[in-house]
Amino acid sequence: MLVVQTHAGRLGQTWHAPKTWSEATTLLADLGPESAAAGGATYLMWRAAQGEPMPRHLVSLHRIVAGRQCDEGSLGALTTLRTLERDTRYGAQRALTMAASATAGPAVRTVATLGGNLASGFPQADLVPALLALGADAQLSDGEAVPVERLLEQGIDRRLVTGVTHGLTQDSGWSGASVKLARRGMDLSVGVAAVAVRVEQNEIQEARVAVGSLYERPQRLTAIEAALVGADASEDTIEEVLEVIGFTGRQFQDDAESTGTYRARIARPLVRKALLVALRLGPNGEPERGDERL
């Protein structure tokens, strides 16, 4: 018989499955630095398969019921990517739906969670640019709400993300989209662009643009956002804005998925594509898959 060569479970790790956020935080505090929380545990198990050490205590959050809501403007951290991709919500939150639909494959999305995608600190996390574009706040287990942007910079110590909230509602006219470029279906992304825009009378009133995988960590492109405000919602104008503002001054990421040189080449078409999809769909368009080709 073939023997699976992973150490997960073979080195005496202990499994904990609390039923409330309070139990989970108490457990993590009691168990200390040799413990880690897991949403779907796919990332931790994948790391174990790579031979990386696993925490001695794995605190699985999957039994916590109060963390699975998927409402407009309020999403539980334990919402699975399968649930997110099936969400038919429009408006800006569509960016999240599209990002979920382009993450790994269905068999990963069944158990992978929104909170895990955000809290793992995984640089290629596909949902994080959408959360940035939404201007989302992460709700933490101690009751504090932290902008996702700040969470990426400062981390969350040993607190848990219990959910995310945002205020870009469909009825206020926001439209969102997320576009991912990967070599093949299951590969990590070469680049992800997520946007949220609000248009009135064919003029962009507000714009939020974020990218992932291009740089060391996901980030907003505030200069492009500012230049888009007041611009015509047309392909030519968007192209012009992106050309003028450009992507210079940032160090593109070199890794196994792509060179920085290639990422520098695809940054502009990736962001352009996300903007055009958001504009085409408008606030009321149905979500599309988020891995359109450039």
Binding site: V4, T6, G9, R10, T42, P106, A107, V111
Partner: protein, 161 residues
């Protein structure tokens, strides 16, 4: 000792709850239908169903599986069981289409197909490709696998119009 719901039956397991479900199924329970391929979530040969949804058993800790119903391709004879009947239909479609060569990917392909067609009655070719994106095949070139799944949707026999 824990209780795992496997193919409609409760079975006792003693493995550590952090152990990948794939190891538990193959080594402790003797169900070798999920295949150890890449062991890192890229090939899909180890795919099983958790409450009807596809999961990669090489990346799923046993503890996560204990709260649901696990189905492997050995799942059912189909007698009096609609899900098992569907699995048998899919197996037959794969056989008719010549979609099986070395067979390593086949159990995962069949279970991923089962999840796909339970969600969409008539998936398009693109939807089938997306539904099977977790599952790699190094023999068939995929065309006959896609034909087999399409034939299920169309209720026809591949190669016979």
């Amino acid at each position: 000792m824990s209780r795992l719901l496997l193919n409609g039956r409760a079975v006792e397991v003693t493995s550590n709850a952090v152990t990948p479900l794939l190891d538990v199924l193959r080594e402790e329970l003797g169900d070798t239908s999920p295949k150890p391929g890449c062991l890192e979530g890229r090939c899909g040969a180890c795919t099983v169903l958790l409450d009807g949804e596809p999961v990669l058993s090489c990346l799923l800790p046993l503890g996560r599986a204990l709260d649901g119903q696990i189905t492997t391709v050995r799942g059912s004879t189909g007698e009096g069981d609609p899900a098992g009947h569907r699995l048998n239909e899919i197996k037959a479609a794969f056989a008719r289409a010549g979609a099986v060569q070395c067979g390593i990917c086949t159990p995962g392909m069949i279970l991923a197909t089962s999840a796909l067609v339970s969600e969409r009655d008539r998936p398009t070719r693109a939807e089938i490709q997306e539904g099977l994106v977790n599952n790699l095949c190094r023999c068939t070139g995929y065309a006959k696998i896609l034909d087999a799944v399409e034939s299920l949707a169309e209720g026809k026999q591949p190669g016979h119009g």
